[in-house]
Symmetry: C2
Amino acid sequence: MTISAVFMRRLAEIAAAETLPRFRDAGAVANKLAEGFDPVTEADRETEQAIRRAIRSEFPEDGILGEEHGLENPASVRRWVIDPIDGTRSFISGIPLWGTLVGLTVNGDAVAGLMAQPFTREIFYTEDGQSFYEGPGHQGSGGRQRLSTRRTPDLAAATLCTTTPAYFKGPSAEAYARLEQKVRLARYGTDCYAYAMVAAGHVDLVVETGLQPYDIVALIPIIEMAGGVVTAWDGGPAEKGGAIIAAATPELHGAASAILQG
Amino acid sequence: MTISAVFMRRLAEIAAAETLPRFRDAGAVANKLAEGFDPVTEADRETEQAIRRAIRSEFPEDGILGEEHGLENPASVRRWVIDPIDGTRSFISGIPLWGTLVGLTVNGDAVAGLMAQPFTREIFYTEDGQSFYEGPGHQGSGGRQRLSTRRTPDLAAATLCTTTPAYFKGPSAEAYARLEQKVRLARYGTDCYAYAMVAAGHVDLVVETGLQPYDIVALIPIIEMAGGVVTAWDGGPAEKGGAIIAAATPELHGAASAILQG
């Protein structure tokens, strides 16, 4: 079974109702800090609870794993994986590159995903084996636009994104630096937004390390169903997180993997 | 005389009509590249020409300096300074942190400014000695929200932005690294959007080098009229570009300057 666009849109709306009022809310930040609370943690928790309620109501037997509230129904072969606010550093800096991530795995394989950015009013999601965009500027039929990665021919023409090169340590730092030297353009600080831009055909590679499953599960099918490839650096499945390569094409994925593996 | 909000909004609309249709237009990029044209350069040129026409029509005797088309009316004490698309690397990567910058100097001092991000439908601008925001989530009266920087007490609590640390070379790189070690959070890749976030109270410091006048003139009054300070690293005027510190408060500006000057 597929997850419908209707349900994906509902999850995005539910998340936006929790995240948006807390984004750029300087008063709330100051008050909460004075009271000893962390407003981002509160937004994370409330958003995840709201998403869990929606999933439980529609799919009561499914497993749910989230950043803030752990795992429920652990025996289910279907498992939803939630990051209520991916990119909290962007969130607290007023920069709209954070997103709400909701993915679905079946027996550990990511099969459906949603990335929602409510400030820009954008959603990127899968349905029936394809990836779609809804937001400003979309011109597709049915109120949405089908996503496809771009066919950048080689690394010398590629745009690469990563959160910050400082996350790579030791041999990983050397491997990342080798790759960055080969590409046309490297961009930092893009969080989950960079993966959405791979699916949409504006970025060619995202390379990161130290990811949790909830940082990546939702994004895997969005990129794969747009024509891209997402794996661990060693070529294994990306669903467990860790060191990740997301690429617009199999050829770029192969070229980047070869360089990262030295 | 001040520049009215009405005129600032008109400039933003004129720019958006040129930039937005070319943002994320993968078809146009591919076609133009095949024909040997650079779509970003085209967007830059057309946007700047449109802004020049609007300024010329309203203020025919004023000087105008732009990134793409040089200086007109060079003898005027009033000079408009235009960067049609600041953050072209974000623009070509689909990331909505670029902006159109239009500033006004009188005898070399920046006295009015506009930063417009049309994809997020945000404008940041000055009027009558104050800075304002119009866009999603604003709750001010009169359809706009007054901007003010936040009162972050010290560097240890500050958020710092820069385009990329790779732009700093030699002693500048060491100076920047010293500063980054002192702050709570550093963010990269934020382009002109970071300066808008200083004015809006979500970011505390922007430190950059190698800026042109058109990269910074529009942003100086937006930050200053919101309570911040913008200078060159040596404390001189920022209007000529070069190495720049933008700070939310005079105290943060002093602390950052001391560290950068070693």
